[in-house]
């Protein structure tokens, strides 16, 4: 099982995670019971202040996410497939929002289930590291200083390199 959703609307974190841990997608599809013992999830949300080197500590008013619609789902699916080929995971879920968000809004959810925790932790962090560097999303922040495109971080490239 694996799922990718790109959407403007918010998602219900609790409902998504309960659905993952109880393997509701698999069960709806009549698949065998999965023996899930571990669920690891990541939520990324809009911070209240900028804190990179260029623009430190300004209040964030809005964050707008642009993407490349025909490529996005393909790129995220490829990342999930790669994670599943590397680790013994049961199900993966990626939900990524696009459009204009406010501070504390959820941006992204990645959730992974497996029999044991080590595989789920690795696969979840792997998916996030690849999403950050390979999936076609771009963020623009509005602060009291005006609008600006968020710059990619070298630390994200370094995080991805670890998995090679």
């Amino acid at each position: 099982m694996m799922t990718v959703r790109i959407q403007t609307e918010d998602f219900d974190l609790g409902q998504e995670l309960v659905s993952m841990r109880l393997a509701e997608h698999a069960k709806q599809d009549g698949l065998a019971v999965n023996n899930i013992g571990a669920l690891v999830s990541f939520v990324g949300q809009v911070r209240e202040f900028t804190n990179d080197s260029q623009n430190d500590g300004d209040n964030i008013h809005t964050l707008t996410l642009e993407h490349y619609p025909t490529m996005t789902e393909k790129a995220l699916t490829a990342i999930e497939l790669e994670a599943k080929s590397r680790w013994d995971v049961i199900d993966t879920l990626i939900i990524h929002r696009v459009g204009t968000l406010q501070p504390l809004d959820q941006i992204v959810l990645v959730a992974v289930t497996s029999a044991h925790r080590g595989e789920a932790f690795k696969a979840c962090e792997f998916i996030m590291d690849y999403l950050k560097t390979s999936a076609p999303f771009w963020k623009k922040e509005t602060t009291s200083q005006g609008e600006r495109w968020v710059e990619a971080k070298l630390s994200d490239d370094a995080a991805k390199e670890r998995w090679k």
Partner: protein, 85 residues
Amino acid sequence: MNINILYFARIKESVNYSSENIDLPSDVETVTALKNYLALRGENWANLFNGKQVIRAAINHALVDDMAKIKAGDEVAFFPPVTGG
């Protein structure tokens, strides 16, 4: 050959449109050659595509490096390093 080009994020804002259909000279066969070709359009284009800025490319929805070959009918996208998540 004829291809479609898409622009995203600050590149789209800078060139001021999001897509174009273009007939390329026959010697423009790679992403690098296409960047060099676009850079000839004027100062704004030169600043973007002269190699001093990191501009990523995708062909038919897959990330590629600058050595990648372009063929007729391809959808080539140019965008800054991604910042999702």
